[in-house]
C-alpha cells in the first residue's frame, strides 16, 4: 500500500483551496498553480515507473478493505492519462498567463482549473463506481464555473444548456449505479466485475450497459448525444476550450472503456452497438469539420471525429486495436490541446475566428505557421507523427477482427480531417495579408502550443520506447483478472 497515487488528486485539491484565499494576488496564483501542476507531473512520472515495475497500485481509503471502503486504483492506463492531463494543464496554464483577460483571472480562474484537475484525475483513478460519479460532479461543477466565467451573453446562454444536459446525464448515471447495485450488491468496480462474471450475461446487464453508454456518451460526445458540444465549447475562451476539448470528453471515453472492459466484456451486443455509434460519430464529426469556416468550430468538430476513432478501436476489443486506441487517446489529448492553443494565437493576432477575415499570417508569424502545419499533419495521422501509430494499430486490429467497412471509414476520415485543418492552413496562413494582421508579441502565447506539438512529435518517433507502457495499459483492459486481483488481493 502506497499513498503516491493519491497525490495527483490531493495536490490540486489542496492548491485549489489555498488559491481561493488569496484570489486577488494574480502573480502568486500563477506561480502556485504552475508549481502544483508541475509537482503532479513529477508524481505521475514516478507512478508510471512504479506501476511498470510492481504492477497495479491500490489505496484503500481509511484502511477499509477493498469491497467495503472506497478504493483508489491506478493501473497503467489511468497513470498515463493522469500524466497527460497534467502536462496539458501545465501548458494551458502557461497560455492563460497572457491568453486570458484580467477579469476572468480575478474570479477564481486558477482555483477552478485546479478543481477541474481534481475531478479529472480522480475519475481516472477511482475504483468505485459511485465515487466515479462524485468525481464527475467535481469536474462538472468546475467546468460550469469555467464555462460561464466572463459573463458574456453567449456564455450564459450556452452554459444553461450545458448544465441542463449534464444534470440529466448525472441523474441517469445514478440510475445506472442503482441498477447495478441491485443486481450485484456492490459498488467496487473489481467486485462488480467478478460478480458479473459469475452471474453471466443477463438481459438486465445489457440494459445497464446501454444506460452507461448513454451517460458516458453524453460526456464523451458520441453520435446521437454530441449535439450540445459544438455550441457550448464554442462559447468558451481559448484556454478553457483547450482544457475542455483535451480533457473532459476523454473522461467520458475513459469511463466507457473502463466500465465496458470490466463489467460488460461478455456482452457482444453492446460492443457492436458501440462500434456502429462510433463509426457514425466519425462520419458526422468529419462532415461538421469540413462544413464550417470558423477555426474554433473546425477543431471542435475534430474532437468528435477523434472520439469516434478511439471508441471504434475500443469496440473491436483485441490487443492490437486496444493499444491503438490508447495511443490515439493520448495523442489526441495532446494534439487537441496544441491545436486549440495555436488557433488561440491566430485569433489573438487577427481578432476574429472566421477564416474569411484572416489570411497571410505566414509572413509575419512563420513559427506559428509551421507549428500549426506539423500539428495539423499530426492530427490527420501522417507518419512519423503521433497520430499515425494509433490509427494504424486501430485499423490493423479492425482488419484482424474482419471489420473492413469500419477500417475503411477510419482511413477515409483521416482525409477529411486533413482537409479541414489544411483549410485553416491554406486560408489563414497563405495568400494576401489581410488588414487585421497586426504585429503583436505572441512568443509567450506560442510556447505552450510548441511544447505540446514537440511532445506529440516525440511520441511519434519514440513509439518503441512508449509501446511497452501502452501494451501494459491495453493488457489491463483486456484482462480484468489482473485488475480484480490487484484490488481485492485474493
Amino acid at each position: 500500500m502506497i499513498n503516491l497515487i493519491l497525490f495527483p488528486i490531493l495536490i490540486p485539491l489542496l492548491m485549489g483551496i489555498i488559491l481561493i484565499f488569496f484570489y486577488k494576488k494574480i502573480i502568486l496564483q500563477r506561480i502556485f498553480s504552475l508549481l502544483s501542476t508541475g509537482a503532479s507531473i513529477v508524481v505521475s512520472i514516478c507512478m508510471i515507473d512504479k506501476i511498470k515495475n510492481e504492477g497495479i497500485q491500490t489505496v484503500n481509503l481509511s484502511n477499509w478493505d477493498a469491497p467495503f471502503g472506497i478504493t483508489i486504483v491506478s493501473d497503467m492506463l489511468s497513470a498515463l492519462l493522469v500524466l497527460t492531463t497534467n502536462i496539458i494543464a501545465f501548458c494551458v496554464l502557461l497560455y492563460s498567463f497572457k491568453g486570458i483577460d484580467r477579469e476572468r483571472e480575478n474570479y477564481f480562474y486558477y482555483a477552478m482549473i485546479q478543481f477541474l484537475l481534481v475531478g479529472v484525475t480522480g475519475a481516472f483513478s477511482t475504483g468505485d463506481i459511485f465515487n466515479l460519479f462524485v468525481f464527475f460532479e467535481v469536474m462538472l461543477m468546475a467546468s460550469y464555473v469555467l464555462l460561464v466565467l466572463g459573463n458574456t451573453k453567449i456564455q450564459l446562454r450556452e452554459t444553461v444548456k450545458y448544465i441542463i444536459v449534464n444534470v440529466v446525464a448525472s441523474a441517469l448515471f445514478v440510475v445506472g449505479v442503482a441498477y447495478i447495485y441491485s443486481v450485484v450488491g456492490t459498488l467496487n468496480m473489481a467486485l462488480i466485475s467478478e460478480r458479473i462474471s459469475e452471474v453471466g450475461g443477463t438481459g438486465i446487464l445489457t440494459v445497464i450497459a446501454v444506460l452507461f453508454l448513454l451517460v458516458f456518451g453524453l460526456k464523451g460526445a458520441i453520435f446521437p448525444l454530441f449535439f450540445w458540444l459544438p455550441g457550448s465549447y464554442n462559447a468558451a475562451p481559448i484556454p478553457i476550450l483547450a482544457l475542455f476539448g483535451a480533457l473532459l470528453t476523454k473522461v467520458g471515453v475513459y469511463s466507457i472503456s473502463r466500465t465496458y472492459s470490466l463489467f460488460f466484456y461478455q456482452d457482444s451486443y453492446v460492443f457492436s452497438l458501440l462500434g456502429i455509434l462510433a463509426l457514425i460519430t466519425i462520419i458526422l464529426g468529419a462532415i461538421g469539420s469540413i462544413a464550417y469556416n470558423d477555426v474554433k468550430k473546425i477543431i471542435i468538430y475534430n474532437i468528435i471525429t477523434a472520439i469516434g476513432v478511439i471508441l471504434f478501436g475500443f469496440s473491436t476489443f483485441n490487443a492490437v486495436s486496444l493499444s491503438g486506441s490508447i495511443f490515439y487517446l493520448l495523442h489526441d489529448m495532446i494534439i487537441k490541446g496544441a491545436l486549440f492553443l495555436l488557433i488561440g494565437a491566430m485569433i489573438y493576432i487577427t481578432g476574429t475566428s472566421n477564416l474569411k477575415y484572416m489570411s497571410g499570417l505566414m509572413k509575419k508569424y512563420p513559427l506559428l505557421a509551421w507549428t500549426f502545419f506539423i500539428a495539423a499533419l499530426g492530427l490527420a495521422g501522417i507518419p512519423p507523427l503521433s497520430g499515425f501509430v494509433g490509427k494504424f494499430l486501430i485499423i490493423q486490429g479492425a482488419f484482424q477482427a474482419g471489420n473492413y467497412i469500419g477500417s475503411f471509414i477510419v482511413v477515409l476520415s483521416s482525409l477529411f480531417v486533413l482537409l479541414s485543418v489544411i483549410k485553416i492552413f491554406v486560408k489563414g496562413f497563405w495568400g494576401e495579408e489581410s488588414d487585421n494582421v497586426m504585429k503583436k508579441p505572441v512568443k509567450t502565447l506560442l510556447l505552450p502550443g510548441c511544447i505540446l506539438v514537440l511532445l506529440s512529435f516525440l511520441i511519434g518517433i519514440g513509439v518503441e520506447v512508449l509501446s511497452p507502457y501502452i501494451s501494459l495499459a491495453a493488457e489491463s483492459l483486456l484482462q480484468p483478472e489482473n485488475y480484480i486481483h490487484a484490488v481485492l488481493k485474493e
Binding site: 460519479f133 450564459l156 446562454r157 444553461v160 441542463i164 449505479v177 442503482a178 441498477y179 441491485s182
Partner: protein, 112 residues
C-alpha cells in the same frame, strides 16, 4: 411497498421529463429537481426497502437494513442541491442579461 415506490418513481420521472421538455427555464429547473428526487428514491428502493431491523447490529445479526443506499443518497442529495442552486443563480443572471427565460429564444445567432 416496493411496488408503491416504483409507482412514485415513475410518476416523478414522468413529471420531470414533461417539465424538462418545456420552454420556460424555471420549469426546466424544477424538472431537474424532480428528476433527482426520483433518482434518489430509486437508489433507496434498489437497495431493498424494509428488512425489519436497524442497519448496524454487528456481524451476527439475522436481519439488517442496508445502510449503503442511504449514504449514497446523502451524497447525491448534496450534489444535486449544489448544482440546482448554481443553476438557479445562473438562470437569474441569464434572465437579467438576455431578458428572456424562454429556451426557444435562447438559440441562434442573436446573442453570439
Amino acid at each position: 411497498m416496493e411496488f408503491l415506490m416504483i409507482l412514485i418513481i415513475g410518476i416523478l420521472f414522468m413529471c420531470a421529463t414533461y417539465l424538462i421538455l418545456s420552454k420556460s427555464l424555471l420549469r426546466i429547473i424544477i424538472g431537474t429537481g424532480l428528476l433527482s428526487h426520483g433518482v434518489h428514491l430509486l437508489l433507496l428502493t434498489m437497495g431493498g426497502l424494509k428488512k425489519g431491523a436497524a442497519p448496524l447490529l454487528g456481524q451476527h445479526a439475522e436481519s439488517y437494513s442496508d445502510p449503503l443506499p442511504q449514504a449514497l443518497i446523502l451524497t447525491a442529495i448534496v450534489i444535486s442541491f449544489g448544482v440546482t442552486s448554481f443553476l438557479l443563480v445562473l438562470a437569474y443572471r441569464t434572465y437579467q442579461e438576455l431578458g428572456t427565460d424562454n429556451m426557444e429564444k435562447l438559440r441562434g445567432k442573436k446573442y453570439d
